[in-house]
Subunit: 283 residues, 2 copies
């Protein structure tokens, strides 16, 4: 079992991992391609001491090399769920399951960008992982909201199992193959509604009857990630001075812990979260 | 009047200054020689992403150059007091007085290392600045606790004005000249006592009758620095997520805002404090 599981491979996560290692803890970073980090796309870092205006991608590659040299392990993929157990945590990534003693959430910003109704129906028709939950809707009608490239494969998967797949294409890339039961829906999702379970998704001015909505996003909203985690009024994870969250053993840092979305803050909070997680393990 | 006055020239202060400038605010760093920064003495930075194990002195010089390039101004000296006014703040440094709209305290750690009784008598016999307060004790007996080189000059100054000067030499350098009214006292100060005003200083097992005790330290304790600033149980300045303190317009960051005393945290909190101060000004 890993001592410290870090969710997110941006600068906050890497700083947490390096500092957990510096305190003698084992550390695994679970995250997508580094190119998905907000830092990767920054053309020039002018307000982070020591960065000297260099491009974000170059800094990120340097940080990853430092983390690897420090003995940090990496698991590439998209974490869909964290299960809070009694003495340890479970991390679900695609079809794989990992265990850790503590968790540091460094999954980036945008956590608050949910649509009305979305949070209410998490686990009741709203899903962030077609691989995990697709089979629950075999023979039913579903919608998929495509915000990343992974959504194209997820749509293929759903099309094989579900009766009808409404595809809201926010990345404008279409689908790899052609399937008669996939319908492209123009516009953006403005809400999810229903009774106890999802019944409808609103796209533009139209309402579509579905049993599930799959949001395939670069960042899974915190509310869909881990049950019972307190957020602040902005929707960011609520943290204290040690980067502790409302769940003992879970820490958060960087953009996931709120604004400002800046490299210096991400690295600083990552250090504190990594040290706090390592200390939590040793107590 | 400066928009943002930063007290302290270490990495937290420099990060605050660069980021206040990035938001269009004017920024002045008030601080002692950079060589007094804890960073300067670090032999190799292994757990700050991007530092790559380089020595602290080299990083600090780089940060100072970045701050200068960003248009940050510097005032070299030791700040002894910050005066909280109605719409602005006053900064006393030696015999100079400066004004600013907001203040960022980045004066480093060790803020809690006071001796028993010290905080109670601040302004009532306990002083951190011989230039400022020496004349109040003309013809009286005083003690001076020498923790930095500046104390040697301060003792000379006090010897010219006071009847008797008890010199507690914690740096082991003696005095530049010789004065018949200066008495060297071996040992360390263990307490300050009195009624309404200071009456005695305890050094080792002996009690010496004095009207004032001058503590000449690398860092002035927060309690002696600025009146009414709330501290946390560890003695560090209490801050919120925007690095705001209990006094509107005053922000804190880095070691002054508590542990861990680490470069990544200093730079991260500096950024937040600098941005918060710049925003406070523009509201």
């Amino acid at each position: 079992m890993t001592d410290v599981a870090i969710i997110g491979s941006g600068p906050a996560g890497l700083s947490a991992a390096v500092n957990a290692r510096a305190r003698g803890a084992s550390a695994v970073v679970y995250g997508r391609d580094p190119a998905t980090s907000a830092l990767y796309r920054a053309p020039a870092l002018l307000n982070h001491l020591g960065a000297g205006g260099r491009p974000g991608g170059e800094l990120l590659r340097e940080y990853i090399a430092e983390a690897e040299a420090a003995g940090v392990a990496f698991e590439r993929g998209r974490v869909s769920q964290i299960i809070t157990g009694g003495v340890s945590f479970g991390i679900i990534m695609g079809s794989e399951f990992f265990q850790a003693k503590t968790v540091v959430i460094a999954s980036g910003g945008g956590a608050a960008k949910t649509v009305p109704g979305e949070e209410r129906f998490v686990g009741k028709g709203v899903s962030y992982c077609a691989t995990c939950d697709g089979a629950l809707y075999r023979g039913r009608d579903v919608a998929i909201v495509a915000e990343t490239d992974e959504a194209r494969e997820d749509a293929e998967l759903l099309a094989r199992m579900c009766r009808r797949v409404y595809y809201v294409d926010k990345i404008g890339k279409g689908l790899p193959g052609e399937r008669s039961n996939v319908e492209f829906v123009p516009g953006d999702v403005s809400g999810v509604s229903g009774g106890e379970y999802v019944e409808k998704v609103e796209v533009g001015s139209s309402q579509i009857a579905v049993d599930a909505v799959f949001f395939i996003r670069p960042v899974v909203p915190v509310s869909g990630f881990i049950f019972g985690l307190a957020v602040d009024p902005s929707g960011a994870i609520a943290v204290g001075r040690s980067m502790e969250t409302s769940i003992p053993g879970v820490f958060a840092c960087g953009d996931a812990a709120g604004k400002p979305y800046q490299l210096s803050k991400a690295i600083g909070e990552g250090l504190v979260a990594g040290q706090s997680a390592a200390r939590y393990n040793s107590v």
